[in-house]
């Protein structure tokens, strides 16, 4: 193990290390903790300049309550309606594509695989003008469907890369055995491969959930207004509404950030497995 395990060093070093951990963590998260502190302050603290002292009163319920009485819940709901179909669509399509690229040998295989990877590396802003146009032409501008369709398509690149590598690592004998038994190919996908892919499906689901929840660019390019915009875009209009009311803006930002954070802590193992794919050979 590297660096050398701390248990093997002197007692003093161990105590230093153990006491440094929380201090370093506090420094690392300081900007966020500051916002959390803002979000429980009363309005008056900001006018009298009490930014860093103990809040003169704890206004957690009132501040967060006000956020829930604004358009915020609407935006959060939109985010769910955009994120969940995208997760299902992207994971489904890429499981199929990954199966095709991971199991079958055909001439175009590697080319198609690289097409997916290359598309996934593209700075997606360059797609903006044509995709906005396409969405307008389909009559889907400013709808959640329009946003979902684009997200599914774009995420399919990354997901296919992931799925294909995962499937390629499965023991091929299983597929051969099934073929010898005369099992139809689509049944091999459904009954043999898919059950083995559960960890990959879970990892991708949490990753795509987080990516899409946190998307801002496409939200402002393809939608406007309360009816369709997700919370990342909503938070800017929320902030315009509550300009200079830092206690409410802080509370709103924290609420907007909560779902992916919850997702991460619930599904940590899968999340990290997905993110660090390829970091180990």
């Amino acid at each position: 193990m590297f660096p050398a395990p701390i248990e093997k060093s002197s007692r003093a070093a161990q105590i230093t290390y153990q006491s440094m951990l929380p201090i370093v963590l506090l420094l690392w998260l300081a900007p966020l903790l500051a916002v959390a502190l803002f979000s429980v302050r009363p309005d008056t603290d900001f006018t009298i300049g009490n930014y860093w002292g103990i809040p003169s009163s704890w206004e957690m319920i009132s501040n967060y309550g006000q956020v829930f009485n604004s358009s915020m819940p609407r935006y959060i709901l939109n985010s769910f309606f955009i994120t969940i179909p995208t997760v299902i669509g992207a994971v489904g399509l890429s499981a199929m594509a990954g199966f095709a690229l991971g199991i079958y040998k055909f001439r175009m295989n590697l080319w198609i695989f690289f097409l997916f990877i290359a598309g996934n590396f593209v700075p997606f802003q360059i797609l903006m003008v044509p995709v906005r146009d396409l969405t307008l032409d389909m009559g889907l501008y400013n709808t959640k469907t329009g946003l979902v369709l684009f997200h599914i398509a774009f995420q399919t690149g990354f997901c296919t890369l992931f799925m294909r590598n995962f499937i390629k690592a499965l023991p091929f004998e299983l597929i051969e055995a099934a073929r010898v038994e005369g099992v139809a190919e689509w049944r091999i996908f459904w009954f043999v491969v898919l059950p083995l892919m559960k960890p990959a499906l879970a990892a991708l689901a949490v990753l795509v959930f987080t990516f899409i929840w946190n998307d801002y660019f496409w939200a402002v390019v393809l939608t406007q207004g309360e009816a369709a915009q997700p919370v990342t875009a909503g938070i800017t209009s929320f902030n315009a509404q509550f300009r200079a009311m830092y206690h409410l803006m802080s509370a709103g930002s924290l609420i907007a950030a909560l779902p992916p954070v919850a997702m991460f802590f619930l599904m940590q193992k899968h999340f990290i497995a997905g993110l660090t794919l390829g970091a180990v050979k």
Partner: protein
């Protein structure tokens, strides 16, 4: 029909499974890239008739557009300074790669910034830098330094935003390295230790070579992240002050869609430039991956 299908099953099935994903991907990703090239040759407000202007957009972009120059420079700054996330992530990973009690929770909490949306990160750092109540000025005040309005200063603003971007990106690199460190061969480490290697020497000659896959991925995601930077700029400075924090992706957005009017052709030309920069990296990434594939595993 069915017998024909049965005989050719293995040749046809992959295509049936590929069609939905490929159709979506071509419609929304591949074709739009080509379209961007095409639109960039026109003058077009997005509504009326598009007027063919040939290379005029590029000519203007490269010779007479100072905002484009600024954006390009800022993209370069992003590319260079954003890479600090890699050694930064490695450093934190080494610090956290222990087995003391509660270390798992510490690792998760250190990773935290990556999970939050960049919009929230942007807001958090805008307040962090705020000249009247920001924590940043409170901290430098302790050392007797006068308050600095980081985001209001054209010289500093871009660096301020990059620093904000480094926060989640470092967390990302950290998790890559933690996973990599986990897989480092303990026997090699022990053998090197017996040979008297330790500290930096050990890190450089024994550990880092084994972390190469992690470093490669950290490099890929950091480069892509740097070229995709948009959210932070949009939320923290909206390109200002005086356009000093624009990058290509932001400038393109501004030209194509913002209140300055819809100039789709010009925006597409900027997009193409950004794509060409990215193409250098994409080619390198794909070449590396192709070598891996050929090497077989």
């Amino acid at each position: 029909m069915t017998t024909w299908y049965k005989r050719n099953q293995i040749a046809i099935t992959p295509w049936l499974f590929l069609v939905p994903a490929m159709a979506m991907f071509v419609l929304y990703v591949v074709y739009p890239i080509l379209q961007s090239f095409n639109i960039s040759l026109y003058k077009w407000d997005g509504l009326g008739e598009a007027e063919f202007v040939g290379m005029a957009n590029y000519e203007k972009l490269l010779t007479r557009d100072r905002a484009f120059n600024t954006s390009l420079w800022n993209n370069l700054k992003w590319l260079v300074f954003y890479l600090a996330a890699i050694p930064g992530g490695l450093f934190i990973a080494l610090f956290l790669n222990q087995t003391v009690r509660g270390i798992r929770l510490y690792k998760s909490l250190f990773f935290f910034p990556f999970v939050i949306s960049q919009i929230v990160v942007g807001l958090v750092f805008t307040w962090f830098y705020d000249p009247t109540f920001g924590l940043f000025n409170a901290i430098i005040g302790v050392f007797g330094i006068e308050p600095v309005n980081v985001l209001g200063d054209p010289q500093l603003a871009t660096y301020g935003i990059i620093a904000a971007g480094l926060w989640p990106q470092t967390a990302y690199c950290m998790i890559l390295y933690l996973t990599g460190l986990n897989a480092v061969d303990p026997e090699q480490v022990e053998a090197a230790r017996l040979d008297g290697a330790k500290g930096l020497k050990m890190l450089w000659y024994v550990i880092l070579p084994q972390l190469r896959p992690a470093t490669f991925i950290a490099f890929v995601v950091t480069i892509i992240g740097a070229l995709r930077s948009f959210d932070l700029i949009s939320i923290m400075t909206n390109g200002g002050p005086f356009g000093s924090t624009r990058v290509l992706s932001f400038y393109m957005f501004e030209k194509s869609l913002s209140e300055y009017g819809f100039r789709m052709g010009y925006g597409a030309a900027i997009a193409v430039m950004l794509f060409l920069i990215m193409l250098v990296f994409i080619s390198y990434f794909l070449w590396r991956m192709y070598q891996d594939e050929k090497g077989g595993h």
